[in-house]
């Protein structure tokens, strides 16, 4: 049907199109118009559910709800049993016990102090949208004895694991109230209520490997004092010069939005293009200095200190006084250098795998190659 030349003329554009199709960014990276529209519709639904959930929570607060609808250890959930279907009741029961087991292993003897007399209000909302699409949401709200708190939502599909994670998230907030103020400020108002996952350690490893701070780069190379400095655990006289080298000042300035004023543009050019260190330093000092390592990294140090310190660690943490590094060392029951050294090794161990395909990936590829190759022999022309 097709001559050789004609076939080549059609085949080459097809090959090019296939190549472009396969190399197009993945859905997680970019979105098509359809995906964007679907997300907007979804966001509207979530907003409606959240609004309804908040209204219902207010309504629930006004009703007479038993103080302990469900409990595990010191962890108390409060909800209207008539509003919760048996399936969700079972999930909540599993989740609260799972969350308590995790909180108990993290906070040990001071678990009750971590929960701090707070209870968690539970509210469930469900809606039926167009084409009978069913959407369910579970809203959890932390309510302390002195008032105040925060809430978090779990969207479909609602699982025991997701509910347990959300409960633990709220327990972390509750535990923060008992922690010394300087540690709370240092970690960004967060106390980890469970052991950090591999995914969290991977984020820390990426933070460590991609920071432009000279202190972090020295930490990556093995200087523990630099790790402590990059984590904000040492006393700083001048964060700009202690965290960043002159090259780092330039990168900081590059990261700022380019000015529109002509004179400011010229000064910026002196730093970025002509690489005049004094100008970079002056410009860098006009903004708050970027932390070399983010709050997730700091939270993993605190989490590791609690993990290393055993069942009495959290009790020691809430009793301790001193600088953050002294409190962390007291919590872990080891020297600060050992703790930070272990944190460094543990995070670097989770660096994402390199470009080299994993053994599983390679095996799958070879298997597909053999399957395709074998299938190709099945048909005679």
């Amino acid at each position: 049907m097709f001559e050789r030349g004609a076939q080549t003329r059609v085949a080459l554009p097809c090959a090019l199109l296939l190549t472009l199709t396969l190399l197009a960014p993945r859905s997680g990276v970019s979105q098509t118009a359809a995906e964007m529209r679907a997300r907007v519709v979804n966001a509207r639904r979530i907003a409606k559910i959240a609004r309804d959930s908040t209204d219902t929570l207010r309504h629930v607060h006004g009703r007479d709800i038993p103080p302990d609808s469900m409990s595990a250890g010191a962890l108390i959930l409060r909800f209207d049993k008539e509003e919760v279907p048996p399936r969700l009741l079972k999930l909540l029961d599993g989740a609260v016990h799972q969350a308590w087991a995790s909180a108990d292993s993290q906070f040990g003897e001071a678990s009750a102090a971590a929960v701090n007399g707070t209870s968690i209000w539970v509210d469930r909302t469900s809606h039926r949208f167009l084409w009978d699409r069913f959407v369910e949401n579970v809203q959890l709200e932390l309510s302390g004895p002195g008032g105040g708190g925060r809430s978090t939502g779990t969207a479909m599909p609602i699982t025991q694991q997701k509910l347990a994670d959300e409960i633990l998230d709220l327990v972390g907030t509750s535990a923060t109230r008992a922690v010394p103020t300087n540690i709370v400020t240092w970690t960004g108002y967060w106390t980890p209520a469970r052991t950090a996952s591999d995914e969290t350690w991977k984020q820390v490893a990426l933070d460590l490997a991609t920071s432009n701070s000279s202190a972090t780069r020295a930490c990556y190379a093995g200087a523990i004092q630099s790790c402590e400095s990059a984590l904000g655990l040492t006393e700083l006289k001048d964060s700009l010069t202690e965290w960043y080298s002159p090259d780092g000042w330039r990168v900081l300035v590059e990261s700022y939005a380019a000015p529109k004023d002509l004179l400011a543009m010229e000064i910026r050019r002196d730093c970025v293009e002509k690489r005049i260190a004094a100008t970079c330093e002056r410009l860098a000092r006009t903004r708050p200095i970027l932390l070399p390592l983010n709050m997730t990294s700091r939270a993993t140090v605190l989490g590791l200190a609690i993990e290393r310190g055993g069942r009495q660690a959290f009790a020691r943490l809430i009793r301790s006084k001193g600088t953050p590094i002294q409190i962390l060392a007291a919590t872990a029951g080891i020297s600060a250098d050992s703790l930070v050294g272990e944190w460094r090794l543990r995070s670097l161990a989770q660096l994402p795998s390199s470009t080299r395909p994993s053994a599983g990936e390679a095996t799958a590829m070879l298997a597909w190659t053999i399957i395709f190759g074998f299938a190709a022999t099945r048909r005679r022309p």
């Binding site: 049907m1 001559e3 050789r4 076939q7 059609v10 085949a11 097809c14 090959a15 090019l16 296939l18 190549t19 199709t21 396969l22 190399l23 993945r26 859905s27 098509t32 118009a33 359809a34 995906e35 529209r37 679907a38 490893a205 490997a209 991609t210 920071s211 432009n212 972090t216 780069r217 190379a221 090259d247 330039r250 990168v251 590059e254 970025v272 660096l351 994402p352 795998s353 390199s354 470009t355 080299r356 395909p357 599983g360 990936e361 390679a362 799958a364 590829m365 070879l366 298997a367 597909w368 190659t369 053999i370 395709f372 190759g373 299938a375 190709a376 022999t377 099945r378 048909r379 022309p381």
Partner: protein, 217 residues
């Protein structure tokens, strides 16, 4: 017999193989040189983005080399109505197997060029100490990806025969129609799910959606 098939395919494909070798050897160096001249090499994010560009190029080259090596022998055989292969004293299945393996062996040539080109490109590049060059890992990924894409294109060509082009165009049309339809009607595109199955482990094209970074953490 295999040597003869390999030699024949080499003769047919040597011009395009030469182009792949030149591209695999020179383009990474050009990307790294040009990229580094435009960005601040002290900034890890800038260096990573340059490494990413090189990776995207390798992904494209792997696909192009795969499709080229898979389709050419069939097109030439088909032009002569497969008289040569069918007159050989071996069954058709055995002949196709030899063709397949010969293509897979020839794919090693651009892979070696990619490997050497990547080593040359990153040897003198001022990479921050927390980042590393991965020329060997990238060459392995290149070969595995090219091999799978080659096998898929080979399957399409040898099963669909003269209709391979039509089938490929039909697949593209179906994808385009479904995408357009879902965009107009505001639905989640079903292609996203299909795409994820194909490009997520253990899907056949999962190596293409993996890490293609010449320079990485």
């Amino acid at each position: 017999m295999f040597r003869q098939v390999l030699f024949t395919q080499w003769k047919w494909a040597r011009t395009e193989l030469f182009l792949y070798v030149i591209a695999g050897f020179l383009v990474p160096t050009i990307i790294i040189r040009v990229g580094f001249s435009f960005v601040d090499s002290y900034s890890t994010s800038s260096v990573l983005s340059v490494g990413q560009y090189a990776g995207v190029f390798f992904g494209g080259l792997a696909m192009l080399a795969a499709v080229g090596l898979a389709w050419r022998p069939y097109i030439i055989d088909a032009a002569l109505k497969h008289v040569g292969p069918l007159s050989l004293p071996v069954p058709w299945a055995m002949f196709v197997r030899l063709r397949f393996v010969a293509g897979a062996v020839l794919m090693l040539i651009p892979t070696i060029a990619v490997w050497i080109g990547s080593i040359a490109a990153t040897a003198a590049a001022p990479i921050p100490p927390t980042l590393h060059a991965y020329p060997t890992g990238l060459a392995i990924r290149f070969y595995l990806s090219a091999l799978t894409a080659y096998a898929a294109a080979f399957l399409l060509q040898y099963v669909a025969g003269r209709n391979a082009t039509r089938v490929a165009v039909a697949i593209l049309l179906v994808v385009a129609l479904m995408e357009t339809g879902s965009a107009l009607l505001g639905f989640h595109s079903p292609m996203v799910g299909a795409w994820n199955v194909l490009t997520t482990w253990p899907g056949p094209f999962s190596t293409f959606s993996g890490i293609w970074m010449l320079i990485d953490v």
